[in-house]
Amino acid sequence: MTIFNVHASQGVLLAVNVNGSDVCVRSGSSAAAAALLAGVEATRISPVDQSPRAPYCMMGVCFECLMTIDGEPNQQGCMINVRAGMIIECLGQVRERA
């Protein structure tokens, strides 16, 4: 379950695809934010100790948010703003939002 409440936000909503499921997020959100709001918990597994990891800083410093965006691997999801139809692939299941 996402740590953030997805509440009705004003503004333009964009539809993106996270791990095969369509998700709507406000324009201005990053791809990493979209993954989190889709309910994904761990977005990657550390290659060093196989621990589950997820975005931590959301500003390009920690590199925990590495994900594949529109086919390009190893992108910092927090540094890329969503575009309509963006395909975001990372680890983890998209959960139904309550």
């Binding site: 740590i3 934010a33 918990e41 761990a42 100790d49 589950p52 931590y56 959301m58 920690c62 590199f63």
Partner: protein
């Protein structure tokens, strides 16, 4: 290849302010921003929020930032967004990539305005999914318009954590609680900076009003927290805290950590600027003059990436650095420069006067300053604090020696996150000052770049 007189890295208050002033002096300015629109982190996504009329809900100070952004857009500087600088040479050559296409820009002078980052809160379990920084939560609010859920905790201390919690309270959001790790004993040390309390009274009063707002809200603030542990397997499940000698444990859906902010010096380090330890702020800083001149003649710094001073101080420092560049270019004499920045210098002195008090009050507790134990200190390479300590005991004398041995600082973040706690830990083990053991030697490229990014450099005329 393109050229300019002044290339500014960063479009936060320092970068924007420098660009506005420098353009006004007739200097050809290019601003490189790794984000999609100006504002840095503090004014992130402000143009969109302003358009939608929701900027004030983030905060009054935030909403006021739109005027600086508008002045920046109108000032005539070239603004290049979504661009990542990966190398700067001391002669002013700058290499950057914009959406897969790389270029080299030759600039007479370079100004780093790369801002600040959060101090890592190295507590057990801090790498679990569901643990983020308060800054990250603010970014989620500014960009995605979302807020934390009812079982999410804030754990940490400092103006940003207080500001964020107060904002949640003002908007009626409930969270599980605010575990305040400010060290009560620090108040006594902070008292010797009482002069700053007078000149910075308005800032402090604002802070007190935020604290009052938190106290009057439903947010449970628990003070004197001296220990934190985050528990979970695939994600955060529970949080433990130590207060007045007793451990408590409760359910947690998420944890927002915050232990202050520190200068983001990665670019200045990679370029070769000399750095020194700043004990007052428990961080490294680029050696620089009050005008922002670094140890490299063509390189200047302004804003939080030099020393933490906040957004208003950053804007003033940007203005001052621009005047210094104008002087170096022969546009101003030193007298003309001093006259031009007289008011800015006066205001900057006032803005910075409250800092020693804040730095002292919110100096990180020992557990955060030099972590000990089996918890991970380097997230990228999963290196524990204990193994860093053992490496020093086995003979490693500097952070770079520890890095060679354990790989901490060699992961994707290139030591941005672990640099300060590793340095403090090594210094403490050796019983020396952090100046003697660090910072990490940082080498370009500043961010991982692909061979394609490099190849596109050759293709660009």
């Amino acid at each position: 290849m393109t050229s300019c007189d002044l290339l500014i890295v960063g479009a936060g208050p320092a970068g924007m302010s420098a660009a506005i002033a420098a353009s006004g002096f007739g200097i050809r300015v290019k601003v490189i921003d790794d984000q999609g629109s100006p504002g840095g982190q503090i004014y992130r996504n402000i143009e969109e929020n302003h358009r939608r009329g929701v900027a004030a809900s983030v905060g009054v100070d935030y909403a006021q930032g739109i005027s600086l952004v508008q002045q920046f857009r109108a000032c005539g500087a070239t603004y290049q967004a979504e661009s990542s600088v990966w190398q700067v040479n001391p002669n002013g050559d700058v290499y950057l990539t914009t959406r897969g296409s790389s270029q080299k820009v030759s600039s007479q002078f370079v100004l780093f305005a790369t801002g600040s980052m959060e101090r890592p809160a190295v507590v057990p379990g801090w790498t679990l999914p569901g643990v983020m920084t308060v800054g990250a939560a603010q970014i989620m609010q500014k960009t995605a318009g979302v807020f934390p859920g009812e079982k999410v905790w804030i754990a940490g201390c400092g103006p940003l954590a207080i500001y964020y919690a107060a904002n949640l309270a003002a908007q009626g959001h409930r969270i599980a609680g605010f575990l305040d790790t400010a060290v009560p004993r620090n108040r006594y040390a902070a008292m010797r900076h009482w002069r700053g309390a007078i000149t910075g009274a308005d800032y402090l009063l604002k802070g007190l009003s935020y604290l009052a707002r938190i106290e009057l809200s439903s947010i449970r603030r628990i003070g004197s927290v001296t220990g934190l542990e985050i528990l979970g397997d695939s994600r955060v499940k529970r949080i433990r805290w130590l207060s007045h000698g007793v451990w408590h444990e409760e359910h947690a859906d998420g944890v927002l950590l915050h232990e202050g902010v520190v200068p983001h010096t990665q670019l200045a380090q990679a370029t070769g600027c000399a750095h020194e330890w700043n004990e007052a702020q428990t961080c490294y800083r680029p050696v620089s003059t009050p005008m922002g001149q670094t140890s490299l003649d063509r390189v200047l710094v302004a804003g939080d990436c030099s020393a933490i001073g906040g957004a208003r101080a950053a804007a003033l420092q940007g203005r001052i650095a621009a005047a210094e560049v104008a002087t170096k270019m022969g546009i101003f004499s030193t007298d003309q420069r001093d006259h031009s920045i007289r008011t800015a210098v006066k205001h900057l002195k006032r803005e910075l006067s409250v800092r020693p008090l804040l730095d002292s009050l919110y100096a990180p507790r020992d557990e955060v300053r030099h972590p000990e134990g089996p918890q991970i200190i380097c997230r990228c390479e999963a290196v524990t604090a204990d193994s860093v300590r053992d490496a020093v005991r086995a003979g490693c004398r500097t952070v770079d020696a520890v890095k060679s041995q354990l790989r901490c600082g060699m992961g994707p973040c290139q030591g941005r996150v672990c640099g300060i706690p590793v340095a403090c830990l090594v210094a403490r083990e050796r019983n020396v000052e952090p100046d003697e053991v660090g910072p990490y030697r940082v080498r370009p490229p500043l961010k991982p770049i692909s061979l394609q990014d490099l190849a596109s450099l050759a293709a660009t005329p």
